[in-house]
Symmetry: C2
Subunit: 347 residues, 2 copies
């Protein structure tokens, strides 16, 4: 008797900022069930926002059924399951702009989803693009979505912001913050945690033996300016990581490590501070970027692009990043379930 | 009566590291006099190194005449003028490698040329590619060629390393050094000096009203992490520069400023620290980069590429960067002569 195929993980889909392209992106991928092989999607948000997205995406017949809790969902139903929070009337926000009430309810929705994930009712969360300006105007103080997700999932320690662009991963040893502050936070422990998180994430995402290249902090480290950061922090973290069977090398100057990565010699680049990864930007088509906050108990992914205020309602927003984000969330959630409890957060 | 065309400036040509591609590059551009419209070139170095370069470049008939001083040169002669220092027998260095004696004599040659330039016997200096490893092994302690040139030309204060890649200039407010040290050195005065130097350099190089974009130090300065460096140092320097009629704007995140530059909206990008300009590298063909140390009394340019140890003696080294370097040196030297004495070093 063949074993029944395991059901795909339950991924909570957050519609993003309701004044941006998120609702129409979500409606589009829900309408034709193109992600059904990867995830059981449940929308958490407001039915009126989803309805507006369906109109914008020209899928007005999108059918959904509301449930109070994910555990109530009838997964055999053809209708899209929705946890209707009833917290956002899209008529009360101006489309294509950052609105305080849209930002406030976006944060509240994410907060509810993080609780559901922590309680095990969701295996992972994917959120459509948010507006940082709206979140902040709505009272959610945060440097970026990574920090917000860490807070909402009640995570205390360090976390590792990661981005996937095509097949290249980029991880950061420090979150986005002022450069002096990032230098002050950089430690052997943070680099070590980021290496473990990156290695776990890539393996979980299907890269068999991830090859990680590590950026130096200082310029021209091969011949001149290797400092304490390279000789003590990075070199020590590499030694520890190798003892853990993590395949990594460096520290290399940022231009060299990204050159090697673009030549296919690396699967992941670990940057010491936020702006080092900007080297990646000029080559990256914005429609293929996925963002992931590694090191949290909650699996949370998102398209790395913004809410596309200039594209809203035109029906031209692409969904590739969002689809990649859902597929990644599902893979990572599945991988988490396969390891022993207590082991599932490498941080 | 038409005014006689002014003679082009006298540019001292240094052959670069004698174990690298410099000598053959120099021999090639000297043999067909392709730079005669721009500069009166005088080689300062060892005749035996020039002879080896001529053989490698397959221009064995290259003729030269030695002089004791540049003032002795008969510029009507067809022969290439050479100040023969007799300080380096190429047979005593291993080609394609960094040799201490080659580095030692390279530094000595540059030192002599800087003296000649300070004495007014040379209007400018262009050096073919050097090996930093050889220079250091030969006893010349320096972070890079910019710092060496500053020291050899007895310059005490700040200077502004600049690079020209195709039509885009990049200037640096701090020289290459450990990141923490660069942050400690960053000041309103340095940014101001770099803006003045960059504006002067671009005007002298023929850009009518240079448009300079300034990198922020901190990430995401538009919405989050603008710090004291942006609000006090950079903004204050911009205000001063604008009062001087320098067309500049910022601070902008590094990715945005390089994106705008590559779209043709900027002529120059001012970076706060060395690695910010690495954003430029992936797009830049290495054969078109020129390096200039702004802020010195001595005009000194060079190809920004290395000594090409893997290419030595194959006769395949291109000369485009070297030619651009000589043409730039000549333009800058001419521009210097046109301003009042005491005004010629914007620093």
């Amino acid at each position: 008797v063949p074993r029944p195929k395991p059901l795909p993980p339950i991924v909570g889909l957050m519609l993003g900022d309701c004044t941006g392209i998120g609702p129409e992106q979500c409606a589009r991928v829900l309408a034709d069930k193109r992600l059904a092989d990867a995830a059981r999607l449940v929308v958490v948000g407001d039915a009126r926002v989803l309805m507006q997205g369906a109109r914008d995406a020209a899928v007005p017949k999108l059918a959904w059924r509301t449930y109070a809790e994910p555990t109530d969902i009838d997964w055999d139903s053809e209708e899209v399951p929705l946890i209707d929070l009833g917290n956002m009337d899209p008529a009360e926000a101006i489309r294509g702009t950052a609105c305080p009430n849209a930002g406030r309810t976006a944060g509240e929705t994410l907060e509810r989803m993080a609780e559901l994930a922590r309680a095990g009712a969701l295996d992972a969360i994917t959120h459509a693009p948010l507006s940082l300006a709206a979140l902040r105007a709505g009272g959610w103080r945060c440097a970026d979505e990574h920090e917000l997700l860490a807070r909402l999932s009640r995570h205390d320690g360090a976390f590792t912001p990661m981005t996937l662009v095509d097949n290249l991963w980029v991880a950061h040893a420090t979150p986005v913050m002022a450069l002096q502050a990032a230098l002050a936070q950089l430690s052997r422990e943070r680099i070590d945690a980021a290496l473990v998180a990156a290695d776990w994430t890539l393996r979980a995402a299907g890269v068999e033996t991830p090859r990680i290249g590590i950026c130096a902090l200082n310029p021209r480290v091969a011949d001149a300016f290797a400092g304490r950061e390279e000789t003590e922090l990075i070199a020590a973290a590499i030694a520890i990581a190798r003892a853990r069977d993590i395949r990594c090398g460096g520290p290399l100057p940022a231009d060299e490590v990204f050159f090697r990565a673009s030549a296919g010699e690396l699967d992941c680049v670990l940057c010491m501070y936020h702006d080092q990864s900007l080297h990646l930007v000029p080559q990256a088509p914005r429609s293929r970027e996925v963002s992931f906050t590694a090191g949290l108990e909650v699996v949370a992914t998102a398209p790395a692009h913004g809410p596309g205020f200039d594209l809203v309602g035109k029906g031209i927003a692409t969904t590739r990043s969002l689809e990649q984000a859902v597929r990644l969330a599902a893979r990572l959630a599945t991988a988490r379930k396969q390891v022993a409890p207590g082991m599932f957060v490498p941080s």
